[in-house]
């Protein structure tokens, strides 16, 4: 119960710090359990310091910084018990191009190193460009979805039409 939460917390915190620094190309971050000595009653606080900025609570960061920090936390938890399949639905929505490209680098790294299949839902051209394979969903017949294999140009074309 409590001890398991405490030790998994430490592992997740370790992962979190490493992944954050990789995704932000610097800076550091940390997780804190606060509000109660009993971990089962505590709250999870997230503190982050993007490169050259001071450590602040997640709520004081910019929209994109908050998103990238949350992605770091999601990966930190995931990698403490990685499953062979990982699905991410539009997690790159708030990221600028530089951060999208670092996000894709970490996906590539994890998929090579740990043989994980990633399914990445995205509207970002940059993300699409880094995928090994693209599946396009269309609704040509009203209200009915169809799935088809596409290449990058076709994907951009589908993206621009509806």
């Amino acid at each position: 119960g409590r001890n398991r939460l405490r030790s998994s917390f430490d592992q997740v915190n370790d992962n979190f710090k490493k992944i954050f620094t990789k995704l932000f190309n610097g800076g550091n971050a940390e997780l804190k359990l606060i509000g109660s000595d009993d971990p089962l009653q505590s709250g999870l606080e997230i503190f982050a310091s993007p490169p050259e900025k001071k450590m602040q609570s997640l709520s004081l960061l910019s929209g994109g910084e908050q998103a990238l920090t949350s992605i770091s936390l999601i990966f930190a938890v995931y990698l403490s018990n990685p499953s062979p399949l990982c699905i991410l639905d539009e997690v790159d929505a708030a990221l600028d191009d530089t951060n999208v490209s670092r996000f894709c680098d970490i996906l590539k790294y994890l998929s090579d190193e740990q043989d994980i299949s990633f399914l990445i839902v995205t509207h970002h051209r940059l993300t699409m460009a880094k995928m090994n394979k693209l599946l396009g969903v269309t609704m040509e017949e009203k209200g009915i979805s169809k799935l088809l294999s596409v290449d990058l140009e076709k994907a951009v074309e589908i993206k621009e039409a509806s």
């Binding site: 997740v12 999870l44 708030a94 693209l134 009915i144 589908i158």
Partner: protein
């Protein structure tokens, strides 16, 4: 999947290793595919499935096509690395299906034999996958992490080892 939300006809999603992108316009059905995978793994929460009641998962019809009476999602997993938990450790491939019939609830099958929801959820829980695992990140998850109270946010740690 067949008859699952906007996927009226039989649709097959082939997930090879590496990075597969899923793209398309707003509202075309991408998140529905993500939900289909969560659902076959045993997800039952209306919030996670974006549906107030289980029947809303079944194709509800359009002006040109009538609604369906059932929805089914089948997932095939290659177990050549023998990572599945007992009693499936030595089986080469496992096929899990979940079918819902309108007003009759869901039935699960593992390799063709009837199974309980619990059996299916356990298969996935052990391998770190599963609808509750951190491996499936829905479209609202990032916002939820940012906006939720610290006590609620702590729940994300439950999905760790």
């Amino acid at each position: 999947m067949i008859g699952f939300k906007s996927f009226l006809d039989r649709t097959e999603v082939n997930l090879t290793s590496g990075l597969t992108g899923l793209v398309g316009p707003n509202g075309c059905g991408k998140s529905n595919i993500v939900e289909a995978i969560k659902w076959v793994m045993g997800e039952n929460s209306p919030k996670q499935m974006r549906s107030p009641e289980m029947n809303s998962i079944i194709f509800s019809g359009t002006n040109d096509r009538p609604s369906r009476n059932f929805a089914e999602v089948i997932i095939k997993i290659d177990n050549s690395e023998k990572k599945l938990p007992y009693p499936f450790t030595n089986i080469n491939e496992i096929e899990i299906s979940r079918k819902i019939e309108r007003d009759k609830g869901s039935t699960y099958k593992i390799n063709g034999k009837n199974a309980r929801a619990r059996d299916v959820q356990l298969i996935f829980a052990d391998s770190g996958t599963g609808s509750k695992s951190s491996g499936i990140v829905g479209q609202g998850k990032i916002t939820e992490i940012i906006e939720s109270k610290p006590e609620v946010r702590r729940n994300i740690l439950e999905e760790a080892a």
